[in-house]
Amino acid sequence: MTSGSIATERPDVSRSRAAARVGFGPAIRSEWVKFRSVRGWIIGMIVAGLLVLLTGVFLAGNGSIGCQNGPNSPALTGKACLPPVPIGPGGEAVSDSFYFVHQPLVGNGSITIRVTALTGIYTQGLAQVGQAPPPAHKGLEPWAKAGIIIKASTRPGSAYAAMMVTGSHGVRMQYDYTSDVAGLPGLASAASPRWLRLTRSGDTIAGYDSADGRHWALVGTAHLTGLSRAVQAGMFAATPPYNKATTSLFGGSDQGGPALATGSFDNLGLRGNWPAGAWSGVNIGTNKLTPRSPGGFRRAGSAFAVSGSGDIAPLAPGPLSPIPSTTVEEPLAGVFVGLIAVVVVAAMFFTVEYRRGLIRVTLAATPHRGRVLAAKAIVIGSVAFITGLAASILAVWLGLPKERNVGEYVLPVSTFTEVRVIVGTAAFVAVAAVLAVAIGAILRRSAAAVTTVIGLIVLPFLLSVTVLPVSVADWVLRITPAAGLAIQQSIPNYPQLSTNASAAAGVYPLTPWAGFAVLCLYAVAALAMAAVLLRRRDA
């Protein structure tokens, strides 16, 4: 008796292989009938879809935007306020406003300069009519920048490559708005100047830096497409507006005002064909919504001082965006509300079987327990995906026109990215549903399972976009399944841009696919644990 085989629970191998071929379809079909035959679950999913849709559309485009072209012009609202937005070579919306001291360069050549200082001033708030202007303070924005630039033309949005010193990020080579490479660290000063050089060879522009003008290091190489023989080259300066954001547990505040950065240059060296022989200065890019300090340049012998404001960078959402911009995913912000309904239905899809012993009927019908779990996950995942997809498509379709109507600029993204945002939202809902059904199988009790899943996904997200300080929220949105919402982010996080944007503005610490992978890892881990427990436990 003691040596008797325990044959009651383990199918033999050949049999289970045959069963694996034949048995999976019936299990899925069976679970699908189970799902569709409970009206409350169907209603729950419809409610989930409507919550995603209505919350998103309701939240979208509720702001009001007003502006004036000048002190005596009529007040404008909405779309009329939107300035033309330059589009960079990569198709993204960009800021391209700076003070440019330039002349044409024809064919190959180079420009070299020594930067001896980068200084800045700013004011807090704007000058009011009839009042003394607010006092100017000395100070540099972290991404204030000045240096040399080679640009296809003076048209905003045209291709460029630049070498620059920055407020607090050392020497950088930046090109075509989205690319940013670090060079020498530290701020330029008379005691510790920075030498910068750009050389053009056809469409290729190489950037070098040096601390002494003799030993040069290559910082980066840019390939700019479609440069004509004559390009505009010279010196530039720009700075984003002054901003001081303070965050606290229950919110934060932003203080801001115009800023102006001034770069001091000497030892200008030009090679190649510079036919104009003289420098002209121009403010590139104007924007009626964002007041700018007027730029300019002074020349004293071989020394130049160039002052400018603005930025050469991609546009990103957030409080510091120079225009009222929004993203394609903005109308999908309601997904976490609908998610609550989805996870309740998904968790109960498993837990109700335990309430009255139905699980025994299920497992007597399909003794392969992993197959029951997989079939339930596939059914609930598919239902959640279709619900999420329908709601997302409708929300974007209805929400974006609303955004545009109030004068928000919808930051353009590629079709692939837009599809990723919409389908990714549906996939997020689907994987969250799978996580919920697995946790339902693990915990076997509806209330416990629903509480756990909401505590894992919805709560971290809600806390992160409301009360948590950004530094904490950044970690919460890396290590909880809420990280998966990053799949919605259409505009990447550019390190060369201060946006002050947090999850509340749809900016996540992880890249879209990395964040989504975090959620998937949770789902896979929960499924594996559920499979083991299902197999190990008596039903």
Partner: protein, 310 residues
């Protein structure tokens, strides 16, 4: 595949309590096998082990020679009803049967057939949560019959049935056996199986106490006592004692005889000319027979219960 259920040496513990302690029996086709014993004797646990729902620590349970969980579409081999209340209340009876049918690769048409067989046509589209226990039992029976299985296993199917329902259930079980199917029916009330079961597996304390045909069990419990009603007590006593019987006077005009069958007694008395008004063989009821063999188990249970209460 022969339609048997074979349970061999199954042991199972829940915590420290030994639920099954070497449970061993075989259920054969063509008859109704009653699986009886007091509550807590291990009947339901044995059935769960047979279905692979509970894992045995030792021993094996085979359905047609194979472990139930290894069967593809197992409900085509063995239909079971463990708990009629195991339903999703908001799902209609029809949908309950439909998901089960699909899980066995059976068409929706089969659902309509079993609904008709179980007499559920009028309520099939109603939510099962509103069903009486009797209707749920019928729904459970319909589910067990979905795969037209050669083996049926029902746990306490008489529970909650009204008298009409009990009559229906008995007829139904007998008809299954007549069709050559293997039928295992558990009950904690022997009387429910009177006139239904052909064979009995009586269990207590997690093991088999008796595995016997109903006829043998009743004969054993009855012994061979015969009651004789006569006005000629001394003559009858003398004649029967001469033939080797033990004779005891139980009340005026009544003798209790053992050692001779009733026909023989009648023949002896007829031959010797002793008048008598009645010769009757004593026949124990199934209930009495059951009580006599489960007494130990019941006593054990009383002890075990008081232990648990501590």
């Amino acid at each position: 595949m022969e339609a048997t259920i074979e349970v061999a040496g199954v042991r199972k513990r829940f915590g420290h309590a030994m639920a099954l302690d070497g449970m061993t029996f075989t259920v054969w086709p063509g008859q109704v096998t009653g699986f009886v014993g007091p509550n807590g004797a291990g009947k339901s646990t044995t059935m769960r082990v047979i279905l692979g729902l509970d894992a045995a620590e030792e021993g094996r349970a085979l359905v047609g020679g194979r472990p139930y969980p290894s069967l593809l579409h197992p409900m085509r081999y063995l239909g079971s009803l463990l708990d009629a209340a195991a339903l999703q209340p908001s799902r209609s009876a029809r949908h309950h049967l439909l998901w089960l049918a699909y899980s066995q690769g059976l068409p929706a048409a089969r659902v309509s057939e079993v609904i008709e067989q179980a007499g559920l046509q009028d309520v099939a589209r109603r939510k099962a949560g509103g069903f009486s226990l009797g209707m749920r039992q019928r729904l459970g029976i319909a589910a067990a019959m979905l795969g037209d299985p050669p083996i049926l296993m029902l746990d306490e199917p008489f529970n909650g049935l009204d008298p009409d329902g009990i009559v229906w259930m008995r007829g139904f079980l007998r008809s299954l056996a007549r069709q050559g199917r293997t039928v295992l029916v558990s009950s904690h009330l022997m009387s429910e199986l009177e006139d239904t079961a052909d064979h009995l597996v009586v269990v207590g304390r997690g093991k088999v106490i008796a595995d016997t045909s109903v006829a043998d069990l009743v004969a054993t419990a009855s012994g061979d006592r015969v009651t004789l009603r006569t006005t000629a007590i001394p003559e009858a006593t003398a004649a029967l004692e001469r033939a080797g019987a033990a004779v005891v006077a139980s009340s005026p005009g009544v003798l209790r005889i053992s050692g001779l069958p009733a026909q023989r007694i009648a023949a002896i008395l007829g031959a010797t000319g002793v008048p008598f008004s009645e010769v009757s063989a004593h026949r124990a009821t199934l209930e009495q027979a059951y009580m006599s063999i489960t007494r130990d188990a019941v006593e054990f249970r009383a002890e075990a219960t008081s232990e648990v209460a501590l």
